[in-house]
């Protein structure tokens, strides 16, 4: 029961791990992705990506700029132009 989450920038693969939930700052509002999410694609605005490693855990924040998110059967892929930190 885990969501495979990948965060990629042009320069490198920042994250590739299994997490519980990720909240993505979509262009038309934030959305959370859990395992088994329907296929979905959205552009994202600059903002914070919240990564919940386990249920109820304090989220980890990653600042991202520009890009889009894709949810497929294989998991969530966030392509960001720039990642802070």
């Amino acid at each position: 029961m885990a969501l495979h989450f990948e965060l990629v920038t042009p320069a490198r693969l920042v994250r590739s791990e299994d997490v519980h939930m990720v909240v993505v700052p979509g262009a038309e509002g934030e959305f959370g992705v859990l395992e088994g999410h329907a296929p979905f694609m959205s552009t994202i605005r600059d903002g914070a990506l919240l990564v919940y490693r386990t249920e109820g855990a304090a989220p980890e924040t990653i600042q991202i700029q520009g890009g889009f998110a894709e949810v497929a059967a294989t998991g969530l892929t966030v392509l960001a132009e720039h990642v802070e930190g």
């Binding site: 990629v8 920038t9 042009p10 320069a11 490198r12 693969l13 979509g26 262009a27 038309e28 329907a38 296929p39 979905f40 694609m41 959205s42 552009t43 520009g66 890009g67 889009f68 894709e70 497929a72 059967a73 892929t77 392509l79 132009e81």
Partner: protein
């Protein structure tokens, strides 16, 4: 016959040249490793973007309302050749190979009656293109002030290209760069970048599920296209860098070896003439002694 002193001077000068080429070779080898890692690190992003582009492009039928970057201007008259070169020399035929590939394409296009324009990245290709097509250079992008062209540069180039495209300065853009295969082989490559050629779709990627889009497909595509262009340029810049260092390493390795051979030859010549001089001197002394 060169005098001993002359020979010695030549040996020394070749030796110092060899030192330079050897240093440059080692620098290139170190940089090559770095450039290769960078090129590899950039691959996941490019690959993912290409899949997304492919699945999106398959869903949308190209019509007049499609973004111009995908559908084209409807004309095929003015071709822009984007030539990516390096800023520094000492890398063998690296730059001239790229320029040569671009020139072949330019001539072919001109033979078809098209107009050819150039957009030059990097310092090294400028002189040749300017000489052959003095009026065709549309713009130049300077990368001399940064150590390694990176994503920021790719972004600037892409923005400039899109701006020129929107102004209607050209209809089709081709990118010329050198694809890195190994330190010994770099392949000058041509790639169409505008209008964006739709990547081949892996048909099984969507596995039949209906994908939801937010905002709708057209809007996502409109945002995705410039991004895709940027990524392609970025990839080309990285490949180019790795190729440059590879070419440089090979060229400098050859130069170092040649210098070594030359030194050997000159040293033999030096020793022979030294011996000849000694022999002559001895004969003179002996002859002198005998005459007494």
């Amino acid at each position: 016959m060169a005098s001993l002193k002359e020979l010695k001077g030549r040996i020394n000068s070749v030796k110092s040249t060899q030192k330079i080429t050897k240093a440059k070779q080692m620098v290139a080898a170190a940089k090559l490793r770095k450039a290769q890692t960078a090129a590899e690190a950039a691959r996941p992003y490019a690959a993912r973007l290409a899949t997304v582009m492919g699945s999106l492009a398959a869903k949308i039928t190209v019509s007049e309302n499609s973004p111009k970057l995908l559908a084209g201007t409807g004309k095929d008259q003015v071709h822009l050749l984007v030539v990516a070169n390096s800023d520094k020399g000492l890398c063998g035929a690296f730059n001239s190979n790229i320029v040569k590939a671009a020139m072949v394409k330019a001539r072919a296009l001109e033979a078809e009656g098209k107009t050819v324009l150039f957009y030059l990245v990097g310092r090294k290709g400028r002189a040749v293109v300017r000489r052959l097509y003095p009026k065709a250079v549309l713009a130049m992008f300077d990368t001399t002030d940064v150590r390694e062209p990176g994503f920021a540069e790719a972004q600037k180039i892409a923005n400039e290209l899109v701006a020129l495209y929107d102004e209607g300065k050209f209809d089709v853009a081709h990118l010329f760069y050198s694809r890195f295969q190994s330190a010994l082989a770099q392949i000058p490559t041509e790639q169409q970048i505008i209008p964006v050629p739709a990547p081949k779709v892996a048909a099984s990627s969507s596995d039949g599920a209906v994908v939801e889009y937010e905002p709708e497909e057209e809007a996502i595509l409109a945002e995705l296209l410039p991004r895709y262009l940027r990524t392609q340029l970025f990839g080309a810049l990285l490949e180019n860098q790795a190729s440059e260092q590879g070419a440089s390493m090979t060229a400098m390795d050859n130069a170092t070896r040649n210098a070594g051979e030359l030194i050997q030859k000159l040293t033999i010549q030096y020793n022979r003439s030294r011996q000849a001089a000694i022999t002559t001197e001895l004969i003179e002394i002996i002859a002198g002694a005998e005459a007494l």
